[in-house]
Every structure is written in structure tokens, then in C-alpha cells.
Amino acid sequence: MSTPVARSVPAAIRSVLARDRWALAGTVTVVVIGLVAIFADVLTAIEGHDPYTYDATALDPATGLPAGSFGGISAEHWFGVEPLTGRDLFAIVVHGARTSFLIGLAATVVSIALGLLIGAAAGYLGGWADRVITWTADVFLGFPYLVFMIALGAVVPAEFPRALLLIVVIGFFGWPSTARIVRAQVLTLKDRNFVKAARVLGASPWQIFRTELLPNLWGPVLVMATLSVPGKIGLEAALSFLGVGVLPPTPSWGRSISAAIDWVQVDPVYLLIPGLALFAVTWGFNALGDGLRDALDPKSVTKR
């Protein structure tokens, strides 16, 4: 009785993938790029380049542009090379996938965990705690966090691992939206009989959270997590785009896109390849998340 939704999560995923072609396509995209990220080293070894080595011979000596057409795409360089440096774009994009996945997924875990705890506390405890939390979430939602992250990028010393900083910062600023939804869910769950019963039996709020609330929150949390991964990946890319994300020479799609702006007219491939990779990942997660929501949200079953 107490875990009706939780049991259905894996089943729901299976049924979504079976019924919903878009969600299936999204899942395939995510899995493929995920595998690319995991096996980045192997892939670049097969191609024969790493994302760091400069190669002036791959460049047109008159301009510094990639030698050859379409950004220097060839059997040697599958996605062409970077202008001015001659670094291999395939290696950069493949290793960039690793950066994106690592930061996107880890930041999502941080923000969902925080949002879950804080939102459940607000919903369950109610009263004064609820008011403070709701209000704080409002403040956070309105915080010019981009500015903040830019500032933090300048404060934190270089010795501090950049990826970790981004994970913590992006994750931290992501909790309010999760907390809002969790709070609303908990408010309805709170008055259900099984929660009331547990309370009467003298369970502590933490016990109730773990045994009664959490199992009923997995569904919405999973949907939220899937739908917020692309936002997090996008935010990492946006920060790198603005020059305050991961540090060079670590490859990042956002930084490549930013660098490609200047070159867009003479070497559009330089923009397109990291751009399409970023788009594919965000789209994949969104399509999967939409499908999951339709399957797990009882209200939306009628919609498709």
C-alpha cells in the first residue's frame, strides 16, 4: 500500500520505451553519447588523435583555417580541426561529451538530493519552516546566479578542481524548482492515511521521510531529474560559453561554441559539430523525460 508508484517505475520506463517512439529515440541518443563519453579514450585512439596536440600541418598556411573544405573533414580528421591550432575536432567533441555528462549528471544529483530534502522538510514540517523555505526558494529562483557563478569562477583558486566547483554551484542553485514540486507532493501525501498512521505510531520525521514519503516521490523525482539534466548540461555549456566554465585545455562544447562564433562565416563546421552534439544530448534527455512524465504522472495519462 505504501509504495504504489515506486514499484511501477521500471515497468513504466519499459512501457514508455515500447509505446513512445520519441522517448525511445531520445533514450538511444542519450545512451549512444553516454557510451561515447565513457569510451572517449578508446574512440580517439582509434582515430589516432588526442584533443590537446597542436598540428600546424592541418591548417591552411595562408589563413590559419583548417586545410581542406568543410572544416578540414577527412579520413585523418573525422570532424575536421580547430582553426589556428589544428587540434582534432573529433577528439575535442568526444572528450567534451565526457565533460558535459559528468557535470550535468553530478550536478543533477546534487540539486535533486537537496531539493528532495528541503522540499520534503517544507511540506512535512509546515508552518514556520515551510514559510522560510518557500521564501528562500523564491529568493534563489530570482537570484542572478549566472553573475554569481561568474564571480565565483574568479574567486575560487585554480587549484580547486573546476569540474567539482561547477557541479557544486550548478547543483546548488538548482534545488528550488525541485523543492517546490516535492513540497507540493508531500503536502498531498501528508494527509494520506499511511502517513498519518506512521505518525501516530511515533515515527520520527526522518523515518517517515525515508519509509513513507520517499518511495512515493521516486516517480516525480525521476521525471524531474531527467528533465533537469539537459538544463544542467546547458548551464555548464553556457558558463563555458561565457568563459567561466571548465578551464582550457579540458574540452567543453560550450567553450568550442563560444570560440566558433568568430569563425562562423569562414568555418561553420567548427560551430555546427559541437553545437549539434550539445543539441542531441539536450534533446535526448528532454524526449526521454517527457515520455517518462506522461507515463508516471497519472493526470497526464489521457494526454497521449
Binding site: 590537446y52 596536440t53 597542436y54 600546424a56 591548417l59 598556411p61 595562408a62 589563413t63 590559419g64 583555417l65 568543410f70 582553426p83 589556428l84 591550432t85 589544428g86 574568479a154 585554480a158 568563459g243 578551464l247 582550457p248 585545455p249 570560440a259 562564433i261 568568430d262 569563425w263 562565416q265 569562414v266 568555418d267 561553420p268 555546427l272 549539434l276 543539441f279
Partner: protein, 556 residues
Amino acid sequence: MSSKKLLAVVLVGALGAAACGANDQKPSGDAAAKPDKGGTLRVLSESRTLNFDPAKSQSLAITTLGLVHRRLTGWQNAVGQPAKVVPDLGDTGKTTDGGRTWTFVLQDGLKFSDGTPITSADVKWGVERSFAPAFGGGLGYHKDLLGGADYKGPFEGKELDSIETPDPKTITFKLTRPYGDWPWIASTPAFAPVPKGKGAEPDYQEHAIASGPYQIQTYTKGVEVKLSRNPNWDGSKDQVRAGLPDEVVFQLGQDASVVSQRLAADSGDDQFAFGASFASPAQLAQLQANASAKSRVVTSKSGAVAYVALNTQKAPLNDVKVRQAFQYAVNRSAYQIASAGTAALAGDAATTLITQGIEGREQFDLYPSKPEGDPDKAKALLAEAGFPNGLENLSLVLNKSNNQTEKAEAIQAALARANIKVTLRTLEADAFETETNLSENPTYDLTLSSWQPDFPSANANIQPLFATSEIGKGGYNISRYSNPEVDKLIEEAQSTVDPAEAGKKWAAIDKRILQDSPVVPLIYTRNSFIHGSKVGNFFIADFPAYPNYLQVGISK
């Protein structure tokens, strides 16, 4: 799906553009056109503020500020010649006691734009004004020499005793020590006249009283500054300014890539315009495809020396052998490509500290190697110094505003060939300056920098970067190089009045410093600018690597 379609569209578009470029054979006979008097010259500037307050300015004598303000002395520069100091408001100065006291005499009949005569007292007031805390930020090489440590400007009612004006045409400076380059110092912005008693308001830069060919007609913050003719400027009394256009309009806050696009297209008012910022490598690559635009790109012959500074006070770089290894480990060729796409646009490989176009410069190379460097030799030197496995964890700090990422990555990749592992740390401009110029105990090992002397003397190449007095405390000795022998040589050269004799001394110091290898010179950075087809006499002399704004005109 729709993304595929998009790709196709873009690729077709790119092909189309390439084809256009090949067929685009516009006649480009406009290069020879000589400018006439008259017309409106437009300057497209990235910057949002334009500073016409001489006290706050670091402007070169031949650019923006020079259109509105004259200075005590001026620069004459031309292609193929070292820059020379020439008379402007006054003569080029005389000293009778070996460079400690300098006297300048002003020309007759000079007037401000408001019609009042320009006197030596106005020049003195201008210099004094540069000491006021409210008007900081300008070039201040004169401050220490005039002994103004406790002086806070003329607005508190005190005068600076080291400047005397015995009559309205004569001005005498009594320096704290002999200084042969004082005539050059007198060409810096603070030596522009400000009518005595005026200029107390913080927005003086928006309505400064002019002594040059133009006066500020309108100043629209962040948008546009319009200069019109100064009726009281007499061209026959000014040998450094041609004053050709009737009007000069600065359009502010322009996006650099948009500027490049517009100037390449060369339509309407843009024919009469030039871009104030350097064309980026991407823009240059694009301009290559357009014959007309290509003919309107002007690239300087030389420029600021770009260098890697090695923190000589921090292990392991406190060992001269280790530092010398860096001279061989860098890859100047990769650096050239990373900075401008090709060596021809980036600039020659640099092996000296004194930049090209400076009197007395001698060309030499203490560490000859191929343009790609010699990693094996670097490894050997490191092994000799006791680091057979190379160096780990060196930190290279970067100034974000200088757009150095690609260049720094090129250095990083080159050093890695010699087993020198470097991490990059990018700081915002003033955080960078705080770390490199102000910190007592900085943590960086390496930094990437470039230096263009503020006035065309080898002194301005070397003293600010290598004198012990310039370490920390705001100075630019960012390799933290301290050698008592060199300090003594610098002092001797500075007090030499004869330029030829001083030039020889500076060349010797250049060699002596590089033996200690506190920095690795990379290239003499070329700057490229693009101008519209009706802009004439747009040239870049040997020094500085900027167009001479004062000579530019409009051709009919």
C-alpha cells in the same frame, strides 16, 4: 529531421560564399588616392568611453587624445624610420646640468579653443592636475621624477615646486635625478595644457578645452563623440598634425566582428571609416576572401614584444639553467599561428627585449633554435639543472581581457614537449594585475604578457620590466627579476642625455638581461586594422604599431 536540413542549408551557404569570394574581382585603385582637406572621418570603436581628460589618459601621442590636445613635445613617425621627438607646443627641451634641469620654450601665439592664449602656466597646471587623486589612471612616469610623493594636486591650493614658469613662454622642470629621456616624458598626455584653474569637474573629459585641431562638439555617453574643427588651431604652428577632415566622429561600443563586416562591405558612411581595434584572426581569414577588403587591411611591420615571464624568485625557476631551458622549449611557430593564423600576420619571432622601430636597437639571438623550438635541448638543460624528468605543476596565469587562451594553450602544448607540465589559470584583468604587479608573494610560475613602450625609447622597453624597483608595488617587473648589476646599468643609461650614446647602453643591457633569461621573448606582435575605401594616408609606422590618427584624411 529538421536538423539535417539545417546542416544542408548552412553548407550550401558556405559554398556560395566561397564562390563569391573567388569571383569578386573589384578594382582596388583606391589605395593610391591622396586625402584632401575636408570631409567627415569616422572611427568605429569597441570601447564605450572615450577619455579626453589628459590627466586620466594613457593614450599614445599619435592617437585619439592627440586630435584634441597638443602636448609640450610630439612624435614624428614614418615607415622605415625610428620615431623621433619633435617640437609640439614647445621645443624639444634643453638641459644645462646633464639632464637634471630641463627648460622648454613655447611657440608664440598659441590659443585654446576658447580663444585664450596657451601659456606655460597652463602646461604646469595640466601636469599638477595629474597628481590629484580624482584624476588618476593616466601615464605617470613624470610623477616620481618631479618629486611629488606627497603632492595631491593643485585643487588644494598648493603648487608643485619642481616646475617653474618664469614667463608665459618658458617652463622649467627640476628633476630629482638626471634623466635623459625627459623630452619623451614631455610628450605623455599629462603635458597637455589645461587652462589654469579649470578642469575640477569629474566629467572634464566630455568637454575638455582643446589645443589641437579639433574640439569636442558633442559627447553622447556610450554612443558617439563628435569632434569639430577648433577655429583657434593654427596648422602652420603644428608639425605633427595634418588636421585634414572637417569632422571626426567616434562611434562607441561597436562590436568588433560587426565592425569588420561593415568595413569589408564598404558601403555608405563606412567608406569614410576605420576600425580602432585590431582585426582578429577570424576576421583576417575572412577578409582574405574579399580582394577589395584585403587591400584595405593595414598590418604593422612590428609591434609590442609578446613574452613568457618566468618568476625568477620562485623555485624551480630561480635557477638560470631551468629558465634557459624555456628559451628552447617554446614553439614560436605555433604561437604565431595561434595568435593570427600565419606568421606574416602575427609578426616576426622575437629574440630581443627592445622592440623594432626604437633608436639604438640591436638584433641578436642568444639562444638560436628553429622556429618550432628545440625540446631536446630544453630537456638536456633541465637534466643539467637536476630535473631529468622535467617539471610538474607549474602555474601559468593569464589575463582574461587579453584574449590569450589560444596563445597560452599553444605555450602549454609546446612546453609539454619538453616534459614541462603547466596549468593555466585565467584571471580577470585587475585580479591578474593584482597578482602579477601588486602581490608581495605571488603564486604564479609563468605568465604571458606583452609590452609596448609608452614612449619610443629603449628605456621604456627595459626599465619598467626589469628594474628591481618595479617588482610588486604596482610595477611591471612580473618576472620579478632583480640584479644589482643591471639596476646600476639602467640608472646610468637613464641619466645619459645623448640619445645615440644612451641607445648603445640600452642595447648592452638588453643582452645582459637575456643572459639571465628572466623572460622568453616570443614575437613582435603585429596589429592589423581595416579602413574604408575613402580613408587616405592610413599608415602604420615602425613605432608604435597603431595608425597615426593625426595624419589620416578623407579622399574624394
